[in-house]
């Protein structure tokens, strides 16, 4: 029994590891676990954030499409109002008359002399 007990007694750590100083294995393990947990949380947060942004982008894209459609509708209305058919229909409302014969003035110099 004593031998067994002796045999099972764990060796004490020498406390030295490659000359760097005393290193607590347990502390190292805890640090690694903490880092992993932080990493996982960070990853999940990032993915979640991306997914949220994705929905935001989708909403914004939907707004852009709506605005684009509205813009198209307004442009079509503007084109309608600018159409010659529309202008012609409004001619009488605007009291416009057809262009008559234009008179043209010559810009060439004409020599004149005073009559006596």
């Amino acid at each position: 029994m004593a031998h067994f007990v002796k045999g099972t007694k764990a060796k004490k750590s020498t406390g030295r590891w490659f000359g760097l100083g005393k290193l607590n294995v347990a502390a190292l393990n805890i640090s690694v676990v903490v880092l992993i947990v932080c990493g996982v949380i960070g990853y999940v947060a990032q993915v979640n954030g991306l997914a949220t942004k994705g929905y935001l982008i989708k909403d914004l894209q939907s707004q852009v499409n709506q605005l684009r459609d509205q813009n198209g509708q307004l442009q079509a209305q503007a084109s309608d109002l600018q159409s010659l058919d529309s202008v012609k229909n409004k001619v009488s409302e605007l009291n416009m008359v057809p262009v008559g014969q234009a008179n043209y003035l010559s810009s060439s110099a004409v020599a004149v002399a005073s009559a006596r």
Binding site: K53, K58, G72, Q75, S79, S83, L84, Q101
Partner: protein, 578 residues
Amino acid sequence: MISLNKNNQQHFFWEKRIRLVSLVIFLFGLLIIFRLFYLSVYQHSFYEAIATNRQAVNENLLPERGSIYVREDGKLYPLVTNQQYFLVYAEPNKVESAKEVVDKLTPILNLSEEEWKGLLNRLAKKSDPYEPIMHKVTQNQVDQIKKLDLTGVGFVGETYRYYPEKNIGGHIFGFVTHSDQEVKGQYGLEGYFNKELSGQSGNIKSIKDALGALITIGPRTVESAQDGDNLVLTIDRKVQFTACEKLKFFYDYFEAQDASVIIMDPKTGAILAMCSFPDFDPSNYGQVDSINQFNNPAIFYDFEPGSVFKAFTMSAAIDTGAVSPDTTYDDTGEVKIGPYKIQNSDLKANGQQTMTQVLEKSLNTGAIFAADSIGKNKFVQYVKDFGFGQPTGITLETEVPGNISSLNKPGDIYYLTASFGQGVTVTPLQLVSAFGVIANQGKLLKPYIVSDIIKPDGTDIAAKPEVARQVIKPKTAALVTGMLTSVIKNGVAKKASVPGYYLAGKTGTAQIASSNGGYGKETNHTFIGFGPVTDPRFVILVKLGKPQGINYAADSVAPIFSQLAAFLLNYYQIPPDY
């Protein structure tokens, strides 16, 4: 010692149980691992297919079809563009009361009684998952339907062609058909430039969530759609509108079978206006009496041009030096060519006449004299050089070359008959293009209607005027211009004149070949002219097919030319010549 042995025995007893439980758990775990391996490795492709089917997105990205514009004062005005409409559909299996839905939709969608009945029957089928109700529904109508909050009624966006300018002619544009998700241009510019206007579809491959939205962090392959090119036309919107309006009036007034007007810039070949009747509405292309209405008469329907052709005969004769404007001949009223006798249209013998008088009085005998003076071979060469017998190459669908094959037949009768425009067929566009030779110092220009092609990235590819060839000498062109001016001033075409301006032109009253052989009593009336002769800004062709109640082009189409010329002279602010 004894208690120690008893403890050891108990310890070993529990150790065995624990080992047994561990073994069971281990085996269970092994089973799970094997099952996992089976599902995710062995049956990987099967489950991947199911997942892909549910999650994968593989859709085409549809490009926007290019628009067609005209340029005015540096701005682009759309003549053909795209507009968002909606397809209203129903899911009959979700509709609570079909009659209520149909009754509420009827006033908004303007359903007829027959449509009301048909829709009611379709929406009454409770097992039916989908029924389209109406295409091309406006935003305004959709907003009204949304207010009704009808269960089982939905909307899908659709894009259709939209034409802001009405009554401006459908033949130039053509139209667009929608079938099996394919959008295709037919006839006119839509047909000719279908590939450029269509653009290129793109593609997106990604994965979607349960709501159908794309997963941002998922894999994504996007090939962007490339929108279609935009076209800018040489057409002047106001000139086109005026030309179509005036032509429509006379087309109806004379009850003509068909009518065409073409206005071209003789210095560049740019088409300023092109209008024909019977016309069609491109946004309702299904509402035509005959599919033939889709063909543009200006480029598709060739006809015997009649006396307008004398201008080209005279140009050829003067250009070769065979005759001059003052060359005389003795007009006996008729010419015998073998067994055939050809007479003047007025059946008169006019005595000694000059070449100028041949055009002024439109004498068939004079045209024969001029053609005979240069001979068949030279005459045929000039006819070809003027562009007849071949397409002009304008970028519109369904242009025909006309038919001058009779000139290849042996004997003199065919080419001498052709000298006054009978026995050969030409299109209105060929005629106006050929007349442009006389207005443009003898140069034949290729007519064109698209001035710019604007790529989606903004690159502007501008068309340049193309000189096909020098047909006649500039001096010949000047002489013939003078003769044609006399036609309007002193000849049969006085009704084509505009006070204060020198305009050149020629009438043509052409007999129409009868199906029984020979010629019937019906005629085609044509007038082609240009002005002002000192610096031509326009060439105008007006044609009426089989006008009723009027005999001569001098009385039917010449006044239309005068009105259009007067408009253009005012529009371009061209001061009078005298």
